[in-house]
């Protein structure tokens, strides 16, 4: 078997035409998923059973099922219900892009919520006690002490999850979207050269992972600046 470099040179620019879509899927889902994660987290730590229970169930379901299955349920399953087709969400759910963003956001929300909760549990209890002894309210303690420290503690795991999300965007190609993966599959169908095409695609994803990790590494160093012993 021979390796056709000209095919690599040809296909990379074509696949990069899907980069915009991949980035859109990732960025939108990251933002929406993180907002959802914060809501789920606040419900989870509220100590009110009627908020805790839905949050725990939601997280359990979305972490316990494959994201591909979630995408298919949303894309193929939901339109079968008339209520969905009549709802204001139909313009979004009718489009594969809307379905992909929805599935990725719902999934990211579940994972990131647990990551943030881990950050909160990692904050030294003594700090909250010191703040309480100074007269700060529960809310003030949460905003001024717990949150900034929890964000630092959660950043490495959060960064891993965003990398996962970026890679999961490739699943959008299964519901007709022409992201980088979707374009790659089209090229393979025309050229019958899966090896060259998918290997090139893998390299592109790897470069993206590299930059995401770099960016978060910077953010983490910024958040940890107060841990450096020397000035």
């Amino acid at each position: 078997m021979s390796f056709d470099f000209s095919l690599v040179i040809d296909s990379i620019p074509k696949m990069l035409m899907g980069l915009g879509l991949t980035l859109q899927l990732m960025a939108l889902s990251a933002v929406l998923g993180t907002v959802l994660a914060v809501v789920l987290l606040l419900m989870r730590i509220s100590r009110r059973w009627y908020l805790v229970w839905p949050s725990v169930t939601y997280i359990y379901i979305f972490r316990g099922t494959p994201i591909l299955v979630q995408i298919f349920i949303i894309y193929y399953g939901l339109p079968q219900f008339e209520a969905v087709r009549d709802s204001i969400f139909w313009p979004i759910l009718r489009e594969p892009f809307g379905c992909a963003v929805l599935a990725l956001s719902l999934n990211t929300g579940a994972y990131v919520s647990e990551i943030l909760r881990g950050g909160i549990l990692g904050v030294d209890k003594g700090l909250g006690e010191a703040a309480a002894a100074l007269g700060l309210s529960v809310r003030q303690r949460f905003i001024h002490i717990t949150t900034p420290i929890a964000i630092r503690l959660a950043t490495p795991a959060y960064s891993n999850d965003i990398v996962s999300l970026m890679k999961s965007t490739a699943l959008a190609s299964t519901i007709t979207l022409l992201d980088m993966m979707g374009i790659a599959r089209t090229i393979v169908a025309e050229t019958f050269a899966p090896y060259e095409v998918f290997l090139s695609l893998a390299v592109i994803y790897m470069v993206m992972t590299f930059f995401i990790q770099k960016a978060f590494g910077r953010f983490e160093r910024h958040m940890s600046r107060y841990l450096k012993r020397e000035n």
């Binding site: 010191a130 100074l134 007269g135 700060l136």
Partner: protein
């Protein structure tokens, strides 16, 4: 400082506290008058921390009555908030906010709890850093300070709220020996200024020279109470004698 008219500011009456089925405090009775300095000692696990943490409601007692500066501690958040504003606390492990500079550690509570202006909070903070003799560390982060310096910042942070009562829970136990005196010096100064203080400590030199009254606890009970001279030289209970002999050996 002996006062003619004694004004009780901390009163514990028949206080009990359980952790599950374990009873950490058993029928504690204690009165601290304004300006009095109390030292609490006793073996590890005897309930010293639990007792002083009940005074500012970091722990909730489940029997008896606690009245601090006229506020009885029940479930009522107004009373708890009032007590916490009027009572400062210093912990064994410093508990400085690691993400804030020293001066911001001091400014946080006045800004949030008392709505003090930024400029005024800064002035108060700097004045207190002068008082604990580390104004030059104002813009460092806690991790960049030695243990003794961190504990002095923690004392200054509590003083920023202008408390009438100070609670110290083994403030020197986590320190290297050479740093203990710099923290004790600050506490001695506070005592001289007439601050009402409860100090859990095993620094017997400090207890002897500063305390008006020493309380010895064992197994959740107050076993013996007395002025330092009587307590050290003529302890009544066998448990106190045994404890003192262990302390003085090292």
């Amino acid at each position: 400082m002996a006062q003619d008219e004694k004004q009780p500011v901390i009163v514990l009456q028949n206080v009990d506290k359980h952790f599950g089925s374990f009873q950490a405090l058993k029928n504690i009775n204690l009165v601290v008058n304004k300006g009095e300095r109390l030292v609490v000692c006793g073996p590890s696990g005897s309930g010293k921390s639990t007792m002083i943490r009940c005074i500012n409601r970091l722990e909730e007692h489940d029997g008896g009555k606690i009245i601090v500066n006229g506020h009885e501690l029940t479930g009522n958040t107004k009373d708890i908030d009032a007590v916490r504003r009027e009572v400062g606390m210093v912990f064994q492990s410093f508990n400085l906010f690691p993400h804030l500079t020293v001066v911001k550690n001091l400014m946080l509570a006045p800004r949030l709890v008392r709505n003090t202006s930024k400029a005024e909070a800064h002035d108060i903070a700097m004045a207190l850093l002068e008082r604990v003799k580390i104004p030059e560390q104002a813009n460092k982060y806690p991790v960049q300070l030695s243990g003794g310096q961190q504990q002095r910042v923690a004392i200054a942070r509590a003083l920023c709220m202008n408390p009438e009562i100070m609670l110290f829970d083994e403030p020197t136990s986590a320190l290297d020996p050479e740093m203990i005196s710099e923290v004790l010096d600050v506490m001695v100064d506070l005592a001289k200024e007439g601050m009402t203080m409860i100090c859990v400590t095993h620094e017997m030199g400090f207890a002897r020279s500063v305390a008006d009254k020493i309380v010895f606890m064992d197994a959740g009970e107050i076993v013996e109470t007395g002025p330092p001279a009587t307590f050290f030289d003529n302890p009544k209970s066998e448990r106190t004698k045994k404890f003192l002999s262990q302390i003085i050996q090292h």
